[in-house]
Amino acid sequence: MSTHGPNMSEYSVFSLLKHTLSGHKNWKETWRSPAPKSHYDIIIVGGGGHGLATAYYLAKEHNLTNIAVLEKGWIGGGNMGRNTTIVRSNYMLEANTRFYEHSLKLWESLSQELNYNVMFSQRGVINLAHTPAQLDGFARRGNAMLLNGADAELLDRDEIARRCPGLDMSPDARFPIVGGMCQPRGGTARHDAVAWGYAHGADRLGVDIIENCEVTGFQMKDAQVCGVETTRGAITAGKVGVAVAGHTSQVMQKAGLERLPIESHLLQAFVSEPVKPLIDTVVTFGAGHLYISQSNKGGLVFGGDIDGYNSFAQRGNMPVIEDVAACAMTMFPNLGKIRLLRHWGGIMDMSMDGTPIISETPIQNLYLNGGWCYGGFKATPASGWCFAHLLATGTPHDLIKDFTLNRFERGYTIDEKGVGAQPRLH
């Protein structure tokens, strides 16, 4: 099944030792760089986490191996490689809770599954509550999570203070902390490794991962998609799945779908200089928009609101930077002398109800995976798993039956925040 020979790299402490003895001269490519074939059964457009995971599960779960992933640049170079790495399933609405919990379960064995350490670190995700009403809201969510097989616990003030040294716990704080909710199985993962791991895994199963190959158009026959035009030539395909979050509108327009319930927005992310272990868990602020964790390297990783206007620039502006710093200091006033090392931006597919789309489209043989807002990273395994199911069988898995493209016109939006069709607020 694999085009690799028997010496293909199997990763373990033993192989590391063996390779150390030979000066690391014999490691193989993590994934091959094949030339595109003229035909594939299924083509995935987009070599981000979701596209690579889809290809992996098509091969693994559905025994389909004549699969290509086409990536216009380098794999994992979009939001996969620029997010804040948080993994959780603490959603309130059932469709979301079930889907993200499926994802979390896949995360829990992902390193073993892929033979690639994605460093999934179940450090817990704590949401702080600043009023009793907010805590009640978390309780509603936590109870929904538990009913759907996820984990959740309510924390009182003392427990929060114990788990998060440095938090401003004073009762007369501007936004006093009255309690919180924790999802112990949530945490963080090494984002790049997830892309590389899926690429490695898919490649071992025979999937062609083709970088520097931009899709420039779709081949159509009788109003059906039958292939793609690329910068490396035309390729025919039985089905095409698009997973290019950030640029979903642009790619789908090439297939003639001019308008979608999606706007592209800009989200910034921030990392501090590395310090010795300081924040042991993921903490989110309830009185402003901030989430913070500490990477294994020691950097504090944090993010806040989207910049709030349509954008395709991977760089943000000052108001959000100042607000994120102010949120961070309000939560953790001990961070004042820690320095911000880097901040950057990514382009988010903000859907009109804040929930993703994994769906067939009005064009036959063309399938869409997008609208991830800024929750795409944690969804990677389930997104790929469900999208693979949809592509392989032509019918949506029960987990994504509500994530359709036509839910908006039908009136079945899934609006976790309850703000309506305002992408910048989701």
Partner: protein, 87 residues
């Protein structure tokens, strides 16, 4: 970004609130066709490049403005008052 408000002059974008695509045509108030309303409320072209959009001068004169802005470079090419789009 800085937006040249016709009333207040050039002000930082943090005074304004982005209010979305200004090219979508709101159906007439009496329009009953759901497709037209669905299209208006949910469907977006989402262009990469030139974009015509509403900004509300929330912390200023509170007028709605039409801003022509590039979504890649963030360069603003024009700012005008809304002349009224619907009926």
């Amino acid at each position: 970004m800085k937006i040249e408000c016709p009333f207040c002059g050039k002000r930082d974008h943090s005074e304004f609130t982005y209010k979305g695509d200004a090219t979508v045509a709101r159906p007439d108030h009496s329009e009953q066709d759901l497709d037209r309303w669905n299209d208006y409320v949910f469907q977006r072209t989402n262009p990469k490049g030139a974009h015509k959009e509403y900004w509300h001068h929330t912390n200023g004169c509170r007028k709605f403005l039409i801003v022509e802005r590039d979504t890649i470079s963030h360069k603003i090419n024009s700012v005008t008052l809304v002349q009224g789009g619907g009926k």
